[in-house]
Symmetry: C2
Subunit: 357 residues, 2 copies
């Protein structure tokens, strides 16, 4: 029940340990094709370039920026937590000219500020985190997409924690580049980073003046392995991780994406009620709260690390600590994917009731 990795269904564990076959085996290529199709369904996109990258969620962030940024490109990053900060660091290392718009941690990105900024200056990329795992804040991704409509900026969204736990309508919201990770609401072990590029993003990649300065994540080569009749070897895909992702996507589609999102919301509401009944307060206002990542204020005088340690040792429950300016001030309770079940919420609430003074 931490900020990920989340709990995993037995069927996904079983898939993970199926026999490893070759990355050019026709049977594996069929699995790849199903994964692409299922990712597109869940992201509500028609994007051809919709594939998992061979690394964890952060490699998805790296992949988006390194494929799209050339030295000197103006980039705007909307920051209200650790992962916005990380985007800034990634883009700066690649030589982008980064402007940032910062908002108080625990509050969402404000649309008026974004509007003002993008009216003043043209950006090649505007980037935001959908679900800020470090604070529990949901940013207004659809609304920012609305502001950007008609502009030629590439709209880049971090969906690491949101994907699989709340609706994402990539095409409708005008998102051009998106990455996620498998270990949050997709309920698969960490190790792959689903990524999707719109035609606009692919055109930006194809029109680069310089080679992508990262061979391993160069999508112009990787897409030759993921499409067409003949698959060009680039690097050996993490075969068994793909088995896991295949099964995890099937589980979400079988339950029905809308039912899955509703389950996340129901469990979140049950958790918040229980926490408030224990006298605890949430960090984020109700309108901006994430269902899958719940930030709870640590009460005055409570040793937050001791509570986490007791939960882990005596109750086998992991919850997360605060990061950066919120370190020591909040706990982060994950209700991601297979973790989002009433029995987990009850078990945690029962344990907290016993532990807290």
């Amino acid at each position: 029940m931490g900020p990920g990795p989340s709990c995993i269904h037995d069927k996904v564990y079983a898939a993970l340990s199926r026999k490893t076959i070759g990355h050019l085996d026709p049977y594996f290529i069929r699995i790849m094709d199903v994964i692409k199709a299922d990712l597109r369904t869940l992201l509500k996109t028609e994007n051809t370039l919709t594939i998992p990258m061979s690394g964890t969620g952060s490699s998805g962030m790296e992949a988006c920026f390194v494929n799209l940024v050339e030295i000197g490109d103006p980039v705007l990053i909307l920051i209200n937590g650790v992962f916005g900060m990380r985007m800034q660091d990634v883009a700066q290392r690649l030589g982008a000219e980064v402007d940032s718009l910062e908002f108080k941690w625990g509050t969402p990105v404000l649309l008026d500020a974004v509007k003002e900024k993008i009216e003043k200056k043209h950006y090649k990329i505007v980037a935001v985190v959908h679900a800020e795992t470090s604070t529990g804040v949901r940013n207004p991704v659809a609304e920012i997409g609305e502001l950007l409509k008609g502009s030629d900026a590439i709209y880049l969204v971090d969906a690491v924690t949101s994907f699989g736990g709340m609706e994402i309508a990539m095409d409708e919201w005008g998102i051009d580049a998106l990455y996620s990770g498998t270990q949050k609401c997709l309920s698969c072990p960490p190790g792959l980073a689903p990524l999707s590029f719109s035609e606009k993003a692919v055109a930006a990649l194809e029109n680069r003046k310089s080679k992508v300065p990262n061979w391993y994540l160069d999508l112009s080569m990787i897409m030759q392995y993921w499409k067409g009749a003949t698959r060009a070897y680039h690097h050996t895909a993490p075969i068994n991780m793909h088995y896991g992702l295949y099964q995890a996507l099937k589980l979400i589609l079988e339950e029905g994406p809308d039912n899955v999102y509703r389950r996340h919301m129901d469990n979140h509401e049950q958790l918040v009620q229980g926490l408030e009944a224990l006298g605890l307060a949430m960090l984020v206002t109700p309108d901006a709260r994430l269902p899958m990542l719940n930030s709870v204020k640590v009460p005055e005088g409570v040793d937050e690390a001791a509570v986490r340690s007791t939960l882990l040792k005596d109750y086998k429950i992991e919850i997360g600590a605060g990061l950066g300016p919120l370190s020591g001030k909040i706990w982060r309770i994950g209700l991601m994917g297979h973790t989002a079940r009433p029995e987990n919420v009850e078990r945690l609430l029962g344990a907290l009731k016993t532990i807290l003074p």
Copy 2:
């Protein structure tokens, strides 16, 4: 029996599907520490920075170069196959001034040529592939290390296919930076890249003038997660892949590394004898042959793709095709890790006997 991924022991599959725990869980940190120690034992090194990177073998290549290269650095790459070419591409994308020394594919790197080259010019990095998976050639890694002793060049070795299948004595041979992959002779699914940096390589990293232009693979941050009493979160480690690697390393240590290397050599000799009895010829001369990757010349008039396809469809045996200039001219037969067993060699020889005209 292709060029990897190799066959995998049931105990490794079982480890892969053990319950996913958090990347900061004290139990997982113990697993990390055992993996580091076992990698050091197998590589015969004392290097503190000896860890698996969160990507496949090619991410290990990317990681070595991106952490060590700054723009304009002179780099010498010894090339006699696909993976030497890949090193050149990786280093050039990072802005290195790359000189290369090319040798005919299917023959090893020649020491005299290397000696001449490094006497003429000072290089920051000299890089070579130990086991060239594209040709089946073993390069003289110990001997090149001998040539470089006393120089301040960083000696960088690709051990993707050699590690776990033949001796590597990193410290004795003077290797400063080394990477591998899990899916070859370690007999684990693809997804991690063991990497080791000597003190000299770490010093080069620490003395960089510029930040590492790749956040995901920046070892200066990643090492803070892998060492010391408090582990600083960088990215979420691929937990289950580490379970697999832990078990795979244990299997090699239990059998005894020297016994494992002997088993690779025995099976290789059995295979070569059998192939020659079928009238087939090896590409590489005996002194430079790899035990784990056997390149066999396709006889005149034989449709090489049809043979591979029949092997896969009717016998469930995968073997590899030739790459680059060797495309259509050779088959590549892997005897890596758990694949290197007499019953596999016999099964393949039996199938080839039936299929070949």
